[in-house]
């Protein structure tokens, strides 16, 4: 065989051998271990850190919210669906509290063709009157007690009942003589009816009120509510309770105004008017909410974190507000 052919063959064979050796040298360590892939890549992928931590993770610190949420009909919507992934929280990342609930809630609840009928849906323009959803709905327990009870009763019958059962404490004209008992004159009827019904059913308890309310018939409650709502709250200004009114105002604007109004006049008749209310009563009620003695999903969240001083300031502010004789009639959503 000619020399060049021999040399060529040697070159080819050497090339193939080198190529084959290079192939086996560069084959990744764990390749072929389980199949035609790098086995080591499986644990690598499995080792990634989850971003979403599940409600159990949130529960550790936010137990109260968690309890409220998990009993609500929003329990299928996990914390992180609205607040974002909890990875790195609380150490590094602060989770957001969505500010624009009109944008957030409509993601699921905007009436839209294609959404199953069972999904609660609203046409925002007709539903909210331009307000944020959170004004009426607690996202952690969205089914609201805030839907006003229809109030239809006989004011005269209410006056009779009042004179018989209530006037002793709440005053002949619904203006309480005692700083720790609430004024009822001019209060929203729907709110009064709801609270009386709650005392009657036992949802809300009070040593004095519970037996009294239990003695009331449903019609009595309606009559009383209409009666009080029609009374004038004027002339109720008493001595302003101790507290920093300016600080109370600032706090009220931040925490309370969306529901109870800037000056304590709630726009929704299901919620109480606070303007001109007895300062001592306000302090007691807020503390009762804070301590869990009075239960309301919305209020529980709002008062959490309020100090005694905060409560005194708030009470001072609201008690000092003027309550108007003719209450604005709240809109019915």
């Amino acid at each position: 065989m000619p020399k060049h052919i021999v040399r060529l063959i040697i070159l080819i064979v050497a090339g193939i051998a080198a190529g084959w050796a290079a192939k086996s040298y560069f084959t990744a360590e764990s390749f072929y271990e389980y199949g035609h892939y790098r086995a080591a890549s499986v644990p690598e992928i499995a080792a990634q850190e989850p971003a979403y931590q599940t409600p159990r993770y949130c529960q550790a610190c936010h137990g109260e919210r968690h309890a409220q949420w998990s009993a609500s009909n929003h329990k299928t919507v996990i914390c992180e669906t609205c607040h974002g992934a909890a990875q790195g929280h609380p150490q590094k990342a602060k989770l957001s509290i969505p500010a624009d609930t009109r944008k957030l809630c409509t993601l699921c609840h905007e009436a839209m063709p294609g959404r199953p009928r069972t999904q609660p849906q609203v046409v925002l323009a007709q539903h909210s009157g331009g307000q944020q959803c959170i004004v009426c709905h607690n996202p952690h327990a969205p089914k609201i007690a805030g839907v006003p009870v229809k109030v239809a009763g006989d004011a005269a019958a209410g006056a009779t009942k009042h004179a018989a059962s209530c006037a002793g404490c709440h005053g002949a004209k619904g203006i309480s003589p005692n700083d720790t008992w609430p004024n009822l004159a001019g209060q929203h009827g729907a709110y009064l009816a709801r609270i009386l019904a709650a005392y009657k059913s036992g949802d809300q308890k009070d040593v004095a009120m519970t037996p009294l309310a239990q003695a009331l018939s449903d019609a009595d409650i309606q009559n009383l509510a209409v009666f009080y709502a029609g009374l004038s709250c004027n002339g109720t200004a008493t001595k302003p309770p101790a507290g920093d009114v300016a600080a109370g105002k600032a706090l009220a604007e931040k925490n309370c105004a969306t529901c109870h109004g800037q000056t304590g006049i709630a726009s929704n008749p299901a919620w109480p008017i606070l303007a001109g209310q007895k300062g001592g009563y306000l302090v007691n009620v807020l503390k009762a909410f804070r301590g869990g003695l009075r239960k309301d999903p919305m209020m529980a969240g709002v008062v959490r974190g309020l100090s005694d001083a905060d409560i005194a300031n708030l009470a001072a502010y609201y008690a000092g507000q003027r309550c108007e004789p003719t209450m604005q009639v709240g809109r019915t959503p």
Partner: protein
């Protein structure tokens, strides 16, 4: 007392590979006398140890994952899309999705559905940006005959076309039934993107590799649910282990008449649907 020195381990690995290379070279040359080196090297080779694989708490031979979608429940809120993007660090634009939701709307007098998803400019405009996800309420004033949403994701097919065409073995089917992508091995040829009949794969230009849904493998191997399942507010997404007869997915499949997408491809997908319709692609 045996202590592993990283440098030593690296050198050992190198020698092992060299030994293997030498063996093949030797075999190719017809010498074959270096065969012993290979055997010795093979004995030391054990990357996974003796316990379970892929992690010490998770044995993939025990599971057979499957996914269910109840399209009749989906409300099109796109929380799943957002969660997926965040959980898996998916590019936040309207052209790369590991999971997405399609909307089908039949208007009165039209026999073909109008279909859109988040890459539709109208929907991008409605959500405000490509990084926020919301369906535009574009049909609210139209006469809608029928409308519904269909969530989509990787089907983790039993006979995955993507795995078939991968030239390197950078994508593969795991024992527990998920198709994974080895980001460190993928060459980025995008053949798999072409091969997937469901459009589930996309090319991540920043990473230079292909990417797709893997049912949050890093979560399900830790006992968690995939992120999209976790955040779905209406339970339209169902996930679980087929080996467990009482798992949500087993019950879902047993109690419903389920469909799969594009069965004619022979891919044998593993996402099972309830509430599909003739025009669903």
């Amino acid at each position: 007392m045996k202590k592993t020195n990283p440098a030593l381990a690296a050198r050992r690995a190198f020698l092992r590979r060299l030994g293997r290379a030498a063996t093949y070279a030797g075999a190719a040359l017809g010498v074959g006398s270096l065969g012993g080196v290979q055997k010795v090297a093979a004995k030391n080779e054990s990357t996974s140890g003796t316990g379970s694989f892929p992690t010490k708490d998770y044995d993939w031979t025990k599971r057979r994952w499957a996914f269910g979608v109840d399209a009749t429940k989906c409300i099109g809120c796109l929380r799943c899309v957002e969660a997926c993007k965040r959980e898996n660090n998916v590019p936040g634009d309207a052209h790369h999705f590991r999971t997405w939701v399609e909307r089908y709307v039949y208007l009165e007098g039209e026999d073909k559905a109008r279909i859109d998803s988040h890459h539709d400019p109208v929907n991008i405009a409605a959500s405000g940006s490509e990084r926020e996800y919301r369906f535009a309420n574009r049909y609210k004033d139209a006469k809608v005959e029928k409308a519904f949403f269909v969530p989509k994701l990787c089907n983790q097919c039993t006979h995955p076309a993507c795995v078939q065409v991968c030239p390197t073995g950078a994508t593969y089917k795991t024992v527990d039934g998920v198709v994974l992508i080895d980001e460190k091995y993928c060459i980025g040829c995008q053949y798999c993107v072409q091969a997937c009949p469901y459009g589930a794969r996309f090319f991540n230009a920043r990473k230079g590799v292909t990417e797709k849904c893997y049912w949050c493998y890093h979560r399900i191997t830790k006992g968690l649910q995939p992120a999209c399942v976790e955040v779905c507010p209406v339970g339209a997404r169902i996930f679980g282990d087929l080996n467990d007869k009482q798992s949500p997915i087993s019950l879902f499949i047993r109690n419903n008449r389920v469909h799969v997408l594009r069965p004619e491809t022979g891919n044998a997908p593993n996402v099972f649907y309830v509430g599909l319709d003739k025009d669903v692609v």
